[in-house]
Amino acid sequence: MSSFAFSFLNLDILKTVYPYILDGLWRTLLLAAAIVPASLLVGLLVACAGSFRHRALDIPLVIYVDFFRAFPPLVLLVFVYYALPYLGIELDTFGAVVLALTLTCSAYFGEVFRAGIESIPEGQIEASRATGLGRTQTLLHIVLPQAVRNMLPDLLSNVLETVKLTSLASVVTFPELLRMARMAQGNTLNATPLLAAALIYLVLLWPLVRLVSRQEQKALRRR
C-alpha cells in the first residue's frame, strides 16, 4: 500500500513538479479560450448560411460538416501540423492546434445550430416575414433566440467535448497539461504527475458534465 502511495500520491514529487503542471493547465485554458469561441462562431455562420437554403451554398456546407465529422481530430491535427509547411503555410504549434480543432469542432457546432434552427416552426418565420422583417432580421430576432434555448444541452456537451479535445495538442508537443504531466512523469519516474493532471481535468470538467446531464434530463422531460 505504501508503495502505491509512493508511486501515485507522492507529495514530495508533487511539490517539485506543480509549477510545471500549473503552466500546462494555463496553456490548456488558453487553448480552450481560443478554440471554443472560434468554433462557436464558425459553426453559427455555417448554420446561418445553411438556413437560407441556397442550393449553391448548401452542398459545400454539407460537405464541410460531414467531412470534419468523419475525420478523426488527431489525424487532422497531425496533418495540419506536418503537412501545411509543405503548402508554404507556416503555423506555430499553438496555431496548428487551434486551426485543426476549430475545423473539427465548428462542424459539430454547425450541426447543433442547424438542428436548433430547424426546430423553429415554419409558421413563425412566415409570420415574421409577413410583418415586414427581413431574412436576416428574422434569423437574428425570431429564430436564433429560440433555437439557442432548444439547443442549450447539445451546445454545452459540445463545449465539454471541445475542452477535452485540447489534450490532443500534447501529441504535437504543445506543452499543455497532459504533455507537461507526461514529461514530469518521465523525469521523476513516478505516476503522481499523471494522476494530478487527471485530477485537474476532473475538477475542471466535472461541473460541466453535471450541468450537461441536468440539461439533458430537463430536455427529455419537456418532450
Binding site: F4, S7, F8, D66, F67, R69, A70, F71, P72, P73, L74, V75, V78, F79, Y82, A83, Y86, L87, A115, E118, S119, P121, E122, L160, E161, K164, L165, T166, S167, L168, S170, V171, L178, R182, Q185, N190, A191, L194, L195, A197, A198, Y201, L202, L205, W206, L208, V209, R210, S213, E216, Q217, L220, R223
Partner: protein, 224 residues
C-alpha cells in the same frame, strides 16, 4: 502544383507504403469493432443494473459514468498505459486502448440508454408487471425495445466519435493506421502516407456519418 502532387499524392510513395497502411487499417478496424461491441454491451448491462434501483450501486454507476465523461480519452489512455505499470499492472497498448475506449463508450451509452428507459411511461412498467411478466421479461420485452429505438440517433454519433478516437491508440504504440502513416511520413519525408491514412479513415467513417444524417432526418423533431 506538381510540387503539391509530389508531396501529397506521390505514386511512388503510395506504391511503397500501401501494404503497411493496409495492415494499419486492419488494426484500426479490429480495434474499432472490439471497442464498439464491448462498449455498447457494457453500457446496456450497466443500464439494466441501474434500473434495479439499488441506491449504492446506482451511486457507483453515476460516479463512474461522470468521471469517464469528464476525462479526455487521451488522458485516460496515457494514465492506464504509463501509470498503471507503477502499480504492477502492465498491458499492451492495444489492450489499454481497447479497455479505455470501451469503458468511455460504455459510460456514454449507459447515459443514453438510461435516458431512453426513463422516457418510457411509468404505466408500461406497471402494466407489464401486473400482467405477470418478471422484472427481466419486462425489461427485455417491453422497456428496452422502446427505449433503444429512441437512443439510435445520438448513439450513432457517439459510435462515430468512438471510432475516431481509435486514432489515439497511435500514442501508445499500437500499429494502427495513424501510427503506420506517421512512421511512413518520417521514413520517407513525404506527406503522402498521411493523405492515404486520411482516405482510409474517410472510407470507414464517411458511410457512418452519411447513415447517421439519414437517421437524424428520420427521427427529426417534428414541428408542433
Amino acid at each position: 502544383m506538381s510540387e503539391i502532387l509530389f508531396n501529397f499524392l506521390n505514386p511512388a510513395i503510395v506504391k511503397a507504403y500501401w501494404p503497411a497502411l493496409l495492415e494499419g487499417l486492419w488494426v484500426t478496424a479490429m480495434l474499432a469493432f472490439a471497442v464498439v461491441c464491448s462498449g455498447l454491451a457494457a453500457g446496456l448491462a450497466l443500464t439494466c443494473l441501474r434500473s434495479l434501483r439499488i441506491l449504492p450501486v446506482n451511486f457507483v454507476i453515476v460516479a463512474l459514468v461522470d468521471i469517464l465523461r469528464a476525462l479526455p480519452p487521451l488522458v485516460v489512455i496515457i494514465v492506464v498505459y504509463f501509470g498503471l505499470p507503477f502499480a504492477g499492472i502492465r498491458m499492451s497498448g492495444f489492450a489499454a486502448s481497447w479497455l479505455v475506449l470501451a469503458a468511455i463508450l460504455a459510460a456514454f451509452s449507459e447515459e443514453l440508454f438510461w435516458a431512453g428507459v426513463q422516457a418510457v411511461p411509468r404505466g408500461q412498467w406497471e402494466a407489464a408487471r401486473a400482467s405477470g411478466l418478471s422484472f427481466g421479461q419486462t425489461m427485455a420485452c417491453v422497456i428496452l425495445p422502446q427505449a433503444l429505438r429512441m437512443t439510435v440517433p445520438p448513439l450513432t454519433s457517439r459510435v462515430i466519435a468512438t471510432i475516431k478516437n481509435t486514432a489515439l491508440a497511435s500514442t501508445v504504440a499500437v500499429p494502427e493506421l495513424l501510427a503506420r502513416a506517421s512512421s511512413a511520413l518520417s521514413e520517407s519525408g513525404n506527406t503522402t502516407p498521411l493523405t492515404m491514412a486520411a482516405v482510409g479513415y474517410l472510407l470507414i467513417l464517411y458511410p457512418l456519418v452519411y447513415y447517421s444524417r439519414r437517421l437524424e432526418r428520420r427521427y427529426a423533431w417534428k414541428n408542433k
